[in-house]
Subunit: 410 residues, 2 copies
């Protein structure tokens, strides 16, 4: 259901059950190290050769220890060969001991794979404030065997309150070579009983310029992972990594490569698919909400307005209750603090126009209610005041969101 997209799919193909290990030379797996009661909790990704590596990280000032260590790893030569991820404990707000543990986790895993430390990224997600149980982490790492590559295990090992795994992969032809891009993600609430985090790992066998890839990651993140909201809480551990190992054998992709835009479309599709899967799996969510803003004065305004609408608790509860409350949409647009002319705005709930040039239309409430009962709800806001547009994704706000977040530890 999430294969619908805003991106033209003509130039790439979706790989059935594709994963973070679909691209040439990548392996991944996961096991139970004992941080969770019985679910998988330690995952890994490995590339047969060092890969160009780029990352974006949470803007939360309480950045967790593993993010610091991973950034240090990448800084050495902009390469990574492996990623180790634990769930259940975020290693955030853990001071010097937390930092020491993150270094040790990196070192133990690097040692296990006979890699230099700086080719390893270390990632944690889970409870804030607890120290990593290093005995369990080390024992778990010692049990990792690259031959046991099984992506489903990786996809499961990185989850916290998520209700489902999140993966995708696509392939396209570049310079006559098959290039594959795949990824896995986790994220449900931004944090949950102090459970942190939106994480995403994207791998590709493309040969690509590292600086251009970094810029592509940033721009893609701005249009995908940064356009989703579950509850507005930005965690201490959010991170998106991309590894490109070059094994596809294509000519080096740069912005001037004739197929650059094809690669970017495929890369964006992978990111957008993962982002939408995260939004749909928001804590307690029953629906994916997609807000389209068009005709904005500039892109920043389009983004801010679409995020204000999809983030509004009143819009989210209205969608949950299948109530075609366009006043809440208008209200959220209005407090987003962006340039617009109230007398020009048009609003539609799915296919049903409800506001034209700032004034309410008579519409079929029953049809609107039926539309809102669908599992994917699209809201359209046309500002008729420029050419910029944006899309944001979120989910409805339900009893279960309150239940999950109010009663977890009771």
């Amino acid at each position: 259901m999430f294969n619908e997209t805003t991106i033209s799919q003509q130039q790439f193909k979706i790989i059935e059950n594709g994963s973070v290990a679909s691209a040439k030379g990548f392996l991944s797996g996961g096991l139970h190290a004992g941080l969770k009661y019985k679910n998988l909790d330690l995952g890994w990704v490995f590339s047969e050769v060092p890969a160009d590596a780029v990352g974006v990280y949470t803007t939360n000032i309480f950045q967790a220890a593993p993010l610091k260590v991973t950034q240090e790893s990448i800084a050495v030569e902009n390469k990574l060969q492996s990623i180790i991820v634990n769930s259940a404990v975020a290693n955030a707000c853990t001071g010097q001991q937390g930092l020491d543990n993150a270094y040790e986790m990196r070192h133990v895993f690097a040692n296990h794979l006979a890699l230099p430390d700086h080719l390893v990224a270390v990632v944690s997600t889970g409870v804030i404030g607890d120290q990593l149980p290093m005995d369990k982490i080390k024992k778990g790492i010692s049990q990792i065997t690259l031959g046991d590559s099984q992506s489903k295990a990786f996809e499961k090992a990185i989850l916290t309150t998520d209700t489902c795994i999140k993966q995708v992969a696509v392939e396209l032809e570049i310079d006559g070579n098959i290039v594959t891009i795949g990824g896995a993600a986790k994220g449900s609430g931004m944090i949950h009983p102090n459970m942190a985090t939106m994480l995403s790992f994207i791998t590709t066998d493309a040969h690509i310029d590292q600086q251009d890839l970094l810029q592509a990651l940033r721009e893609t993140t701005d249009q995908t992972f940064n356009m989703i909201t579950v509850d507005g809480d930005t965690s201490t551990n959010d991170m998106v990594l991309t590894l490109a190992n070059g094994l596809a054998g294509n000519d080096k992709l740069t912005k001037t490569h004739p197929q650059w835009s094809e690669f970017i479309a495929a890369y964006m599709f992978v990111a957008e698919t993962l982002a939408k899967k995260i939004a749909r799996d928001g804590e307690g969510a029953t629906k994916l909400i997609e807000v389209h803003v068009t005709g904005a004065a500039n892109e920043q305004a389009a983004k801010a307005i679409s995020k204000a609408v999809v983030g509004s608790s009143l819009v989210k509860t209205a969608v949950f209750g299948t109530d075609p409350n366009w006043g809440r949409i208008i209200c959220a647009v209005g407090y987003s603090d962006q340039p617009l002319d109230p007398a020009k705005i048009n609003v539609a709930i799915g296919p049903i126009p409800v506001v034209k040039q700032g004034l309410p239309l008579v519409f079929d409430e029953e049809a609107a209610k039926n539309y809102l009962a669908q599992e994917k709800v699209e809201l359209f806001v046309d500002l008729a005041d420029g050419n910029a547009e944006a899309i944001a994704w979120g989910c409805d706000l339900t009893y279960d969101y309150v239940k999950i977040n109010a009663s977890y530890r009771t």
Copy 2:
């Protein structure tokens, strides 16, 4: 329970059952005009003499018609003598007809009282997008008799989804004269099935400089009404008005008057009390949450951080669930995008310190849970990084918030 305050009460006295009509020369009342099924829905305030008038208005770009008309009234000579308020219909997103109706509502009421139009403020709160039923409004106005002054009726007539009336009044001695300040407010969700609005009306018999009063209103609003959040949605109809009719007979209050600060403390108390009553009556709320931020680098940072914490859905659900989830507090502080040193922060849940210098403390979870079970919950964040401080108020996020907002029209 809301008489506790951050303001020294030594210099003023709370009037039992005080109201918007406690100050000399003010009357108020309300009646059922038929906009609601059976509750009161049309309220009025009247001063025996024209009063200096100041207002602050929503920043939502879809400002409702009555706000435009009221601002026009005040602009004529900075005076008002009466206010007419209807609930049930917000007269927002109603175009030229809505504006015409607001003018007519003002004119009919002014005519009824034999006042010039510009001495009347017109206020609406309720469903966005519907036109005012002018027949009912006009018939209701024709039934208003100043002799029927009854503040409880006014307090009820302005409510929408509120569960209780919100009023307060205080008196203090200035220049040997008793000066009274009283007020009424409404507000529950920021909007609800398109029901708008936070409204507050403050009256005083003080003789006071109009420009200084305007500045005082702005500064007070920034520290009170602008520091509360129920769901983060700023309505199209928010308005705070203050009328000062001078009948107390004091020497004109200006910033250089020796008792200026006493008056301001009393005025601030009235505003803060009303603001807290609104926060506590947030849709579905069971608790008032008060977040104290101290040691901030500057006031703007203190305000932003306190509002981020009190507005966090995860903090709000944790308080509802009596879960001492300090990680969520830290996380909200961290994404507020303000200058601070993570290694200096101290956090307490009521009397219980939970984080010291950025690191978790061992604390009695049971005691913290018991504290969070109280009807008023205070959270303390000390940044130890400056001298600025702020307080923000909000409420817990409960099943009933979702219920109220998801199922109203179904």
